[in-house]
Point group: C2
Chain length 763, copies 2
C-alpha cells in the first residue's frame, strides 16, 4: 500500500455503501425509529415572543391533567455559573449558554425558545397539557439586525455578556461577544498604493441546513441514575459531554447511542432535544421521546448565520492584489458563538496579499441561535470576497481565471491568523478549469452569463479513535464512535481492508455508542475520513504488529523477520515458516495467547501549519429572465482537490450535494421574519428549499493532489462545495445582466428589483 | 495492590451488584423483552415419537394459512459433512450433530425433537399452522437406558456413529461414541493388596437446570444478509460460531447481542433457538422471536446427564487407599458429547492412589441431548465415589473426616489424566470442618444422621478479552463480551477500580455484543472471574502504561520514572512534575495525543498443570421419616477454598445456590418418562424443583487460600457447590437409617422402599 505510487487494491474504486441496502429498504434506525416499551411523548412549550422576561410559570394545571407524567421548566435544570467545576471539567461560557438555549431561564430570547416541556402518554395529551401551562411574560424590545444590535443604546439580550477583544473585556455589557482582528502589513498603506480599489457591502440571510430528518431523540434515566440517550446526533461523545456539563451528571453515568442521522450538516452537533428528554425521564421514571416538527426545527434549531459585510480590495494595474480589508458582522442569533474564525481563516486565505486587516464581530440578536452549517460561515463570507475579487479583476481588464491565477495562495502562504498553508492547489484547480469545456465552450444567447468563484477548506482538528478486533476466521470488526454522515462506514471499511490486506467483505464496520469505542469528536468539518482513516491505519498496523509477534514467537524469531501480505505471514527464505491469517486468527480465539485487537487514536491540531487544504472552483452558466427576475442555472461544474479519493462515487455525491445546498442559499432559501420577530415561512415549501427539479446536473471533477500530511494522501471533500456557489452565481448573474447583486438570496423578486434599479440609475 | 499482603481497597468488600437496581426494578432486558417492530412469533412442531424416521413433511397447508410468513424444516438448513470447511473453519462432529439437534434431519431422535417451525403474525396463527403441517413418521424402537443402548443388537440411533477409543474407531456403528480410559499403576494388583474392597453400583436420573427464564431469542436477517441475534445465551461468541458453522454464514455477517440471562448453569451455551429464528427470519424478511414454553424447555433443551456407574475402592487396614476402579456410562441423550472428562478429571482427583483405572462411555439414548449442567457430570459421579469412600472408611472403623484426611490429594498429586494439581486445599478445608460446630455439635434424636462429602473443581481454560477506555473526566469504561451470570459485572468493576486505583463509581462496566468487544468464550465453568480478571488487570496495566508514557513525554523523562497512585501521576523528587488522572484524561480527548485505551486478552490452557483447584466439603444433618421416606434437611453447611474472595456476599450466594441445586438433584428432581419415551412431568411442580420453602439456610464458609497461578490469588466458586450434596445426603441418610441408597433422586418413595427392602433382608 503506497499512496505515492497509488497502488491500491480497494481504495479508489467506486464502492456501493456497505449499509446501502439497509438504508434503501428502510431498515436503518433513525431517531424516531427508537421505540422502547412505555415511552412517553414529549412536547415543548415555546415562547410566542422574540424577547421577553418570563415573570412566572405555573405548571400546576398541566401536571394535574390525567396522562401527564412530568412537566419541566428551567427550574429543573441546574443553574450553571461559568468557572464552576462540572463532573466533566470547568463549565465554560458555551455550556452556560447552551443550558439557557435548551430551556429559557429568566428570559425568552427568540420566538420559539423553549420555556417548558411536558411528557405524557400521548402526543395529544402533551399538546393539551402545553395549553394548560400559564406563563406570564413581560415583552421586551427585540433586535433582529446585527447592525442595530451593535448600535448605541440597543436593548441588551444578555446582562452579563461583554465584548472580548484582543484578550480584553469591555467595561460595559454589549450585544457583541467578540471583536476579532486579523492583521498583517499595513492595510491603509497598501490600499493607498493600489491602482484600483473596490469596496462593496453585502448582506446575507439566515438559512437552515434543511436536513430531511427532524431532531428526534429518546432518553431513559434508569432507576439507579444511569442515563441512556438515543440521539440523531453528529457527536456521541459531544452529546455526552454536553449532557454531563449542563445537567451535572457524571460522564460515567451517561451512554449516548447514535441512531442514523438523516442529515446534519453541522446542525446536529450540540445537545438540544435529548437534554429535555433526560430531565423529563428523570422525573417520569420512563423513557421519553421528543420529535420536533418541521416548524420547530425551523424556529428553534440552529440556522446558518447571516452576515453583514464590507470588503475592500486593492490591486496594482498589473493585477497584483496589494491589500484586503474587511469588516464582517456575524449574526450569532440569541447566543454568542458565530463561526468567525472558521470562515475567515479559510475564505481570506484564497489570495496572497502583503497587507490585510479583518475586523469581525460576533453579534447576538433575537433569532434562533446559529449553528455550524457546512463550512461554517464561509458561504456568505466568500460571497462577499469573491464578488469583490471578480469586480476588481474585471475593472483591471483581466479574465476572471487569469486574475485569480495571478493572486491565489500557494504552498507556504499564510492564512489570516498567520498559520501557513502547507500545500494548496488553487493553481492546479484553475488550470484544470481553464481547459475544461465548462469554461472554453461558448455561452450564447441573451441574458446569459458565466461566473466563477473559488473555495477552500482546511481540517478543523480533533480526536478520533477506533479499534479493530480479529474474528476466528480472520475477518475484522472495525469499531468507532464517529457517526456516519457521508458514507464513512464504507470509506473506512475500504481503508481497513486495504491496510489489513483483506477483502472488503471481510471487514465489518460498526458505528459504536459511547460505551463501545474510545473518544471520537463530532462527525463534522470534514474530519472523519481524514482523521479516522489515520486512526484506522494505526489500529491496523497495531493489529498486524501483534500478529507478527505471534508468528515470530512461534518460529522463535524476531517480529522484524516476519512478512505479511494477502492474508499470509511468512519468513523470507524459510518456506516452512508460514501461516495463514485465518489459521492464526482461529488459534488466537482458541486458547493460544489470547484474542487480538488493534487500537488507534489520532488527535489533529494545527499549530503553525494548517491541515490538508483542499482548493475548489465552481463554474456556473445562468440565464436571467428580465421580466420575472428568475435565475435559471443552465450548467454547473465543480472542481476540487480532494487529495486521494477513497470512494470516488461518494466524493462526487458530496461535491454535488454541497453545491446544491449552496445554490439554494444563493437563490431561494431564507428565514422571513414578521415585525414581532417570528419566522413566517417555517415549512420547507415556503422556506423554498431547492428540490431535484430545481437543479441542473452538477458535474463533479475530482483533482487528486495527495496531501503530504496524510499517509494515504487524503484531503477532504464535504465542506468546500457549499462555499463557492453564491459568489459564482452572483458573478454569473452580473455577466448575464451587468448588475452585481449584494444580497442573498438572489431570488426573482430581488433580482427583478435590482435590474429595475440598475436600469433607473443608468437612465 | 498486593494479593500476598491482601491490601485491597475495593476487592474483598461486600459490594451490592452494580446492576442490582435495574434487576429488581424490572428494567434489565431479558430474552423476551426484546421487541423489534414487526417481529413475527415462531412456534416449533415437535416429534411425538422418541425415535422415528421422518418419511415426508408437507408444509403446504401451513404455508397457505393467512398470517403465516414462513415455514421451515431441515431442508432449509445446509446439510453438514464433517471435515468440510465452513466459513469459520472445519466442521466437526459437534457442529454436525448440533445442526441435527436444532432441526431433525431424516430421523426424530427424542420426543420433542423439532421437525418443523413456523413464523406467523401471532402465536395463535403459528399454533394453528403447526396443526396443518403433515408429517409421516415411521416409528422406530426407542432406547432410554444406556445399558440397553450398549447391548448387542440395540437399535442404532445414528448410522454413522462409531466408537472412538484410544484413537481407534470401531469397525461397526454403535450407540457408544467414546470409550475413555484413564489408567495408572495396576488396579488389579492394587485391589488384590487391599485389606478391604467396597464395590457398589449407582444409577442417577436426567435432571434439568431449572433456569427461571425459558430460552427466548430473536433474530433478524437484514436484506443485505447481515444477521442480528438477541440471545439469552451464556456465550455470545460461541453462539456466533455455532450460527456461522451450522448455517454457513460468514462470521463477519453475524452479530450476537446478549440479553440478560435468567439462569443458565451450562444449559444456554450452544445455539438452539436462535438458529431457528435466523432461518425463519431469512425466509420471512422480518424479525422472528421464539420463546419456548416451560414444557418445551423440559422436553427439548439439554438436561444434565444421567449415569450408570460401578465404583470399586480398596484400602489397607491402616486406611490407605490403594486402588480405585470405576466403570461409568454417561447418558448423552440423542447426540454424543457427555461430559466424561469434565467429571472424571475432577471427581477422581479427590484421593491419592497409586492404582487407578476408569472406563467411561459416552452413550446415546432417545432422550433430549444432554447439556453441561454446573460442574458438568460431577454431581452423579461424585455421588458414586463419595458413597463408596464413606462406606469404605466406615468399614475400616474410621471417622469420615479422618479417613478422608488420610487420603485426600495434596499439591502436586496427579489427576486421572496425569495433569498435576498445582495446589489443592482439601486438608485445610477438612481441618476447618473438623473444628466447626456443624461437625462438633451433637446430633440427637432418632432417624437423624450427619453426612459429609468432598468436591473439587479446576478451571476449564479458554479465552476472555476486554478493553478499558478512559473518559474525559478520568472515569473508565470496561467492555467485555462475557455475559454476566454471577454478578461478574460487579466483581470485574471492583477489580478494575482496584487496578486503576480509582473509585468503584468511576468504573462503568459494559457487557458487549460481538461487535463491541474482542473474543470471549462462554460464561461457564467458573471461567469469568478467574480469567476475565486477568484480562482486566492486563488492560488496566496497559492503560496505566500509556498514561505514564504521556506523562513521561510531557516532562521529558523515561516512563519508568513516573509513579502512579490514587488518580495522580508524579515523579519522585520532583514536586513540580505531577498531574492528575482527570487532567490527563481530559487532555487526551481534547486533542493531545489521542484518546487512551487499554486492552487485555487472556487464554488459559492446562498442559501439565491444572488451573486453580478449589476444594470443598459439605456437611449435612438429616432426619428421615420412616413412615413416608421423606428426608428433611435439618442443617446444611458448606466449606470451600475459593482463593481470594472478590465480593464475599456474591461468593456466598454462589455457594448457597449451587448447594440448593445439588439438594434438588439429590432428593426430588427427575425426568419421568412413559413407555413411549415421553417425559410425563414437564412442569416445575411435577418435576419437583426445590423451592425456598423446601430448603434450610445454607451456611457458607469461605476459605481463602490464594491461588499462586492468579495475580490476585483468585480460584473459583460457582461449580463446586453442586458437587457434594447428593453424596453428603446419601451418607447422612445412611447414618440416620443404616441404609445406603444407590439411586437418585432419594425421594420419599425411593427411600421408603429402600427402608422396607433393608428391613426385609435383615429379617
Amino acid at each position: 500500500m503506497d499512496y505515492q505510487t497509488r497502488k491500491f487494491r480497494v481504495i479508489g474504486r467506486n464502492t456501493p455503501k456497505v449499509d446501502g441496502v439497509e438504508k434503501v429498504t428502510g431498515r436503518s434506525r433513525f431517531g424516531s425509529d427508537v421505540r422502547l416499551p412505555g415511552t412517553l411523548v414529549a412536547r415543548v412549550l415555546r415562547s410566542p415572543h422574540a424577547h421577553a422576561r418570563i415573570k412566572r410559570i405555573d405548571t400546576s394545571r398541566a401536571e394535574a391533567l390525567p396522562g401527564v407524567a412530568a412537566v419541566i421548566t428551567s427550574s429543573d435544570f441546574p443553574e450553571l455559573t461559568t468557572g464552576e467545576r462540572s463532573p466533566y471539567g470547568v463549565v465554560g461560557e458555551r455550556e452556560r449558554y447552551l443550558s439557557q438555549e435548551v430551556m429559557a431561564r429568566g428570559k425568552a430570547l427568540f420566538h420559539g425558545h423553549a420555556v417548558a416541556a411536558v411528557a405524557a402518554r400521548s402526543s395529544a395529551i402533551a399538546e393539551q397539557a402545553l395549553a394548560l401551562i400559564d406563563v406570564e411574560y413581560e415583552v421586551l424590545p427585540h433586535i433582529m439586525d446585527p447592525v442595530e444590535a451593535m448600535g448605541p443604546g440597543a436593548t441588551l439580550l444578555h446582562e452579563e455578556l461583554y465584548t472580548q477583544a484582543s484578550g480584553e473585556r469591555s467595561s460595559t455589557p454589549s450585544n457583541v461577544a467578540e471583536h476579532l482582528v486579523y492583521s498583517r502589513g499595513d492595510v491603509e498603506q497598501g490600499l493607498a498604493r493600489a491602482d484600483t480599489v473596490i469596496e462593496r457591502s453585502f448582506r446575507t440571510q439566515v438559512v437552515h441546513h434543511g436536513y430531511v430528518e427532524p431532531d428526534s431523540e429518546t432518553a431513559f434515566v434508569h432507576s439507579d441514575g444511569n442515563v441512556e440517550v438515543w440521539a440523531n446526533t453528529q457527536s456521541t461523545y459531544g452529546q455526552r459531554h454536553d449532557l454531563s456539563a449542563i445537567l451535572g451528571i457524571p460522564l460515567s453515568k451517561i451512554k449516548v447511542v447514535p441512531t442514523e442521522v438523516g442529515g446534519g450538516f453541522g446542525g446536529k452537533e450540540s445537545v438540544r432535544v435529548s437534554a429535555i428528554c433526560v430531565v423529563l425521564s428523570r422525573k417520569a421514571g420512563l423513557p421519553v421521546r421528543l420529535s420536533l416538527t418541521r416548524e420547530e426545527v425551523f424556529r428553534a434549531t440552529g440556522p446558518g448565520n447571516a452576515i453583514v459585510a464590507t470588503v475592500k480590495v486593492g490591486a496594482k494595474s498589473d493585477g497584483t492584489i496589494v491589500a484586503i480589508q474587511a469588516r464582517l458582522l456575524y449574526d450569532a442569533g440569541a447566543f454568542p458563538g458565530a463561526p468567525l474564525r472558521s470562515a475567515i481563516r479559510r475564505v481570506f486565505s484564497h489570495y496572497r496579499t502583503p497587507n490585510m486587516r479583518i475586523d469581525a464581530y460576533d453579534v447576538v440578536t433575537n433569532k434562533p441561535h446559529g449553528a455550524a452549517y457546512r463550512a461554517p460561515g464561509a458561504t456568505p463570507t466568500n460571497f462577499a470576497l469573491e464578488s469583490v475579487i471578480d469586480e476588481l479583476g474585471e475593472s483591471l481588464g483581466f479574465d476572471p481565471i487569469e486574475f485569480r491565477l495571478k493572486n491565489v495562495s500557494v504552498d507556504g502562504d499564510p492564512m489570516p491568523d498567520g498559520v501557513r498553508l502547507p500545500t494548496v492547489s488553487f493553481k492546479e484547480v484553475l488550470s484544470k478549469v481553464r481547459g475544461h469545456s465548462c469554461w472554453t465552450s461558448k455561452l450564447e444567447g441573451p441574458n446569459r452569463g458565466r461566473g466563477i468563484a473559488l473555495g477552500m477548506w482546511t481540517m478543523p482538528g480533533g480526536t478520533t479513535s477506533c479499534h479493530i478486533t480479529l474474528s476466528g476466521d480472520g475477518s475484522a470488526t472495525l469499531v468507532l464512535a464517529a457517526v456516519d454522515l457521508s458514507a464513512t462506514r464504507t470509506s473506512l471499511a475500504m481503508i481497513a481492508a486495504e491496510a489489513l490486506d483483506i477483502d472488503l467483505s471481510d471487514v465489518r464496520v460498526v458505528v459504536g455508542d459511547t460505551d463501545m469505542a474510545a473518544h471520537s469528536d463530532a462527525s463534522a468539518g470534514d474530519r472523519i475520513t481524514y482523521v479516522a482513516s489515520k486512526a484506522v491505519l494505526m489500529a491496523a498496523q497495531d493489529l498486524i504488529g501483534h500478529l507478527k509477534k505471534r508468528v515470530a514467537e512461534e518460529f522463535g524469531l524476531e517480529p522484524g523477520n516476519v512478512q505479511y501480505a494477502k492474508k499470509r505471514f511468512w519468513v523470507e527464505g524459510a518456506p516452512e515458516m508460514q501461516i495463514s491469517l485465518a489459521d492464526l486468527a482461529l488459534r488466537s480465539v482458541r486458547g493460544e495467547g489470547g484474542a487480538l485487537m488493534g487500537y488507534g487514536s489520532v488527535s489533529e491540531t494545527f499549530s503553525d501549519t494548517a491541515i490538508a487544504p483542499n482548493a475548489a472552483a465552481h463554474v456556473v452558466d445562468v440565464e436571467v429572465d428580465p421580466e420575472t427576475g428568475k435565475v435559471e442555472v443552465l450548467r454547473y461544474t465543480t472542481f476540487q482537490d480532494i487529495g486521494t479519493a477513497v470512494n470516488p462515487v461518494q466524493v462526487e455525491g458530496q461535491m454535488q450535494g454541497g453545491a446544491a445546498q449552496g445554490i439554494g442559499w444563493a437563490l431561494s432559501e431564507e428565514y422571513q421574519f414578521d415585525d414581532d420577530g417570528a419566522m413566517t415561512n417555517p415549512t420547507l415549501l415556503d422556506y423554498r428549499l431547492q428540490t431535484a427539479a430545481d437543479l441542473p446536473f452538477i458535474d463533479a471533477n475530482i483533482i487528486e493532489a495527495p496531501s503530504p500530511d496524510h499517509p494515504l494522501g487524503i484531503r477532504a471533500v464535504g465542506q468546500v462545495p457549499i462555499v463557492p456557489p453564491a459568489a459564482a452565481l452572483a458573478n454569473a448573474i452580473y455577466r448575464a445582466t451587468g448588475v452585481r447583486l449584494s444580497r442573498l438570496p438572489m431570488n426573482p423578486e430581488r433580482v427583478y428589483w435590482a435590474l429595475v434599479e440598475a436600469k433607473k440609475s443608468s437612465e
